[in-house]
């Protein structure tokens, strides 16, 4: 990977002052995003994946937030940037699609108008009617039928899937270089999810859009991502290419995520392999590896924080935080013939 990344995140730390103390939501995240690439950030609720995305967009700035580290977009530092700089970039160069298409639109304004408004704000010289024409084009591009008529609809007249398409259309309005999609399909039916994923893939291929896809579902990741970051309690616990994460996962948490997926293409097990317990409170993290209390393979080294390290020179970007040796991992990650965290209870 020698190409210049469009987005470079280094040692990003985001903490929030709360009544219970400093809550470290993101703790030292580093990654590079190349043009035309889909990077998936995977984790459970509270893993810091959404806060990472929102911080890139400058949406976590507030009096009680402490943001450290560096986010560079085409070499320009965003963490220290002025609000005016961020406003110039947001929507225009970096756009975001949110999880809930029901609450992300203004309910009392026509959808086409909302899309046009964003264009007018960034392109003051846009001729009258041009923004509307562009909104219709965008609707067609994302597969909304009868685009000409539907730009004048209100959000409530759209179904969930159509609203998510409209939101993607809005994000694409100014032809951004980076699209951040935060759980874009979680609120949708599986059939609609498949269509939206296909759409994101096409956009990525045809326009060379660099995409960050945030999700808790590795099934979605398998369909579209090039590279994957797995996050747990604010830290990246494993990162690698799609192939490395699915076929040679090195962190027990990744095994757990892979194992708990329901698979239609396999005979169904008596019990679904699960990750027991719940993610820890960020105000009261266990000492050392944060996954330790849920990990069946815990041993005496785990109370020390493992570094994010690789094993092979030829796959230097496949890194993970775990003290187990590669041989131990190979022996332990196979459960009932597939990757999983622990043998299903009898």
């Amino acid at each position: 990977m020698t190409a210049t990344p469009i987005l470079a995140v280094d040692d990003l730390r985001v903490g929030f002052a709360t009544e219970g103390g400093l809550l470290q939501a993101v703790d030292g995240v580093r990654f590079r995003l190349q043009p035309g690439e889909v990077l998936a950030i995977v984790g459970e609720s509270g893993s810091g994946k959404s806060v990472t995305a929102q911080t890139i967009m400058g949406l976590t700035r507030s009096k009680n937030a402490r943001i450290e580290g560096s986010v560079r977009f085409e070499g320009e530092e965003l963490v220290e940037a002025s609000d005016a700089t961020l406003r110039r970039l947001r929507g225009d160069r970096i756009a975001m699609v949110f999880q809930d298409p029901m609450t992300s639109f203004n309910p009392v304004q026509r959808i086409g108008r909302q899309i046009a408004e964003a264009m007018e704000a960034h392109r003051g010289d846009l001729a009258k009617g041009e923004a509307r024409a562009r909104a219709i084009e965008l609707f067609e591009a994302v597969g909304i039928p009868e685009a000409e008529r539907r730009v004048d609809d209100y959000p409530h007249e759209f179904s969930g899937g159509m609203r998510q398409r409209a939101m993607i259309a809005m994000a694409l309005a100014l032809e951004p270089e980076v699209l951040i999609a935060d759980e874009p399909t979680t609120a949708l039916d599986v059939t609609i999810q498949a269509q939206i994923l296909r759409l994101l893939e096409d956009l990525n291929r045809e326009r060379g859009l660099a995409t960050i896809l945030i999700t808790h579902d590795l099934g979605v990741v398998a369909e579209v991502a090039d590279r994957v970051l797995v996050m747990y309690a604010g830290k990246v616990v494993e990162q690698g290419t799609l192939e490395e994460i699915f076929y040679d996962p090195q962190h027990p948490y990744t095994w757990g995520l892979l194992g708990s997926l329901t698979r239609l293409d396999r005979p169904r097990p008596k019990r679904l392999p699960q990750i027991s317990g719940a993610p820890p409170s960020l105000l009261d993290l266990p000492q050392g590896c944060a996954f330790r209390p849920r990990c069946p393979h815990e041993f005496d080294k785990c109370p020390q924080v493992p570094g994010l390290e690789g094993r092979l020179a030829e796959a230097a970007e496949h890194r993970y935080r775990c003290w187990l040796t590669p041989a131990e991992k190979r022996a332990k990650r196979q459960v009932a013939g597939q990757i999983g965290l622990e043998a299903p209870a009898p």
């Binding site: 599986v190 699915f246 329901t262 698979r263 239609l264 293409d265 169904r268 990750i275 719940a278």
Partner: protein
Amino acid sequence: MSEPLLQVTDLVKHFPIKRGILIDREVDQVRAVDGISFSIEPGQTLGLVGESGSGKSTACRAVLQLIKPSSGSVRFEGQEIAGCSRRQMRPLRREMQMIFQDPYASLNPRKRVGQIVGDPLKRQRVASGGELRKRVQELLERVGLASEHYNRFPHEFSGGQRQRIGIARALALRPKLVIADEPVSALDVSIQAQIINLLDDLQDEFGLTYLFVAHDIGVVRHIADRIAVMNKGEIVEEGEADQVCENPRHDYTKKLLSAVPVPDPREARERAAKS
């Protein structure tokens, strides 16, 4: 074959579409549930699958008489309950309970967990005082929470834990039939497995019968003995769970199956290349 616990025959629920200023005229009907029939044997699980708008939630509500069916029959242990009054339904409510989709919206935020789970016991005059508290704490432990959670409020819990509270409440009266309407679709995938396994264990322990509703056929296959596929108010296919997933006959079932993501990049690529 034993007698089914629940037998639904030609169940219909149409909602009128009305127009007019002074006099409402019925101009059309939404055929939310349009003549569905199915039955569930005691101790079995029927999975009901379909997209949003297919009528599956309306079907659940009509079965439980939470909304009045337009026509058709619902027999519970052989007894007709379609058209029963609220008063007639009350003793039967103990026997049939519901688990809802959204654990953030279905728990009263101003009540403590103990009150939420204990309320059905109090209303049906099953237990009170110290006995009530003891039973609620046992239930909390049974669903994987701690008895100390008794005095907490719902906002102190994660999504998965809230769904456990909802399950404890549904089980408080030891029902025979539990209708679960999308009980895991609002949860993280890793937590979904926990809840599905919990429902499975509880079924074995209490001899429960489930009607399990979801839009994701992959999830339904894991818990269901039989699967009914619903589209536009009708059941288009019904059969053994593995049979329906491996040899689907109806085009709509095939469409649902092909939409489930394949969590295997190589196979996903092959499949994408084919289509």
